[in-house]
């Protein structure tokens, strides 16, 4: 059994989680708080952010903004820059780029606007977050960035070319930034979930779900907590010598 000190692997610092009010986002917030971190929870839904704050009290600091609004992102980091100096918060040592969108469409009916929207949320926004977070982390020569990719980005999936491209762009940037930022003590890794039971996959009927699960070696869908625990591992010193890695959380999935 783990002692309390062993389980508090993120104690003393703060973590920014985007898309914090979705199923996976909430699970990440929960695991980060349980591991001792203060969490800057970013989301667009004020009510859902308030619910997170009520649940975790002072351990969660809400940041209500749209990740694709460049000015709003910068303002959010200005807030973090100030608030991280408070003793109950601590320096930003982790960033989890979790906010994402997925739109299914075959190539013949893919609108360019849909492609751009997915690139904006799934790649350009995380890129700006990495740019700003790395500057805060560089002061302490320490930090860990975890990007939420996808097995669709790593392996491809029919009908998800735009989504897959946006996630592949993110894991590609992560590998290069891992090399670039190692010099200032910042690690960059990607978690690549497979089929996870969330609000995004709730519309799958039983037949579709069974078909997908038949292509998963572990014969079950993933849970948000499965992803969140992998994220906390990569944020923590338990993965201190791991960077530029794509960690599948997919039960061995063939999308």
């Amino acid at each position: 059994m783990m002692s309390n000190s062993e389980s508090m692997i993120l104690k003393g610092g703060s973590v920014l989680v985007t898309g914090a009010t979705g199923d996976i986002g909430r699970a990440i917030v929960n695991e980060c708080v349980s591991a001792g971190a203060a969490v800057f929870a970013a989301g667009r839904n004020e009510d859902k952010l308030s619910a997170l704050v009520n649940q975790y009290e002072s351990r969660v600091i809400p940041l209500n903004y749209d990740v694709t609004d460049e000015k709003a992102v910068k303002d959010a980091f200005r807030q973090i820059q100030i608030q991280q100096n408070q003793p109950n918060v601590g320096p930003l040592m982790g960033l989890v780029n979790n906010a994402g969108v997925m739109k299914e469409a075959p190539l013949s009916v893919s609108a360019m606007d849909g492609l751009k929207a997915q690139l904006n949320v799934n790649f350009l926004a995380p890129y700006q977050h990495m740019q700003l977070a790395s500057r805060l982390m560089a002061r302490h020569r320490h930090g860990s960035i975890v990007n939420i990719g996808s097995q669709v980005g790593e392996q491809g999936s029919s009908g998800l070319s735009a989504y897959g491209a946006s996630k592949a762009a993110l894991s590609g940037a992560s590998r290069s930034l891992a090399k670039e930022l190692a010099a200032v003590g910042i690690r960059v890794n990607t978690v690549a979930p497979g089929f996870i039971n969330t609000e995004l996959t709730a519309h799958f009927d039983d037949e579709a779900r069974q078909d997908i699960e038949s292509r998963i070696a572990m014969r079950r869908s993933g849970r948000a907590g499965d992803v969140a625990r992998a994220v906390v591992f990569l944020l923590s010193k338990q993965s201190a010598y791991t960077t530029g890695h794509v960690l599948p959380v997919d039960g061995l999935f063939y999308p």
Partner: protein, 79 residues
């Protein structure tokens, strides 16, 4: 400590050079200590010291000590 002293100290700490080397003419990539990695640390330290968050365009333009002063002046840091 005035802003000039603060700026000098920030360059000294970020680049690992002596205070005498921090002159207005000191330019990025002209000494081995001021490389791309040190530049990132320098930006981080300047933002911390002067409590500002710089625009990316300003970071790209910050190619010398003199330029750093001009850019910081835009953020109400006077020298």
């Amino acid at each position: 400590m005035d802003n000039q002293q603060k700026l000098t100290q920030t360059f000294v700490q970020a680049l690992g050079i002596s205070p005498e080397q921090v002159t207005d003419g000191l330019t990025y990539n002209t000494i081995k200590e001021w490389d791309s990695t040190a530049h990132m640390i320098l930006i981080a330290e300047l933002e911390d010291a002067f409590e500002v968050m710089l625009d990316t365009d300003d970071i790209i333009d910050m190619s010398s000590v003199s330029k750093a002063k001009d850019i910081l002046a835009k953020y109400d840091v006077q020298f």
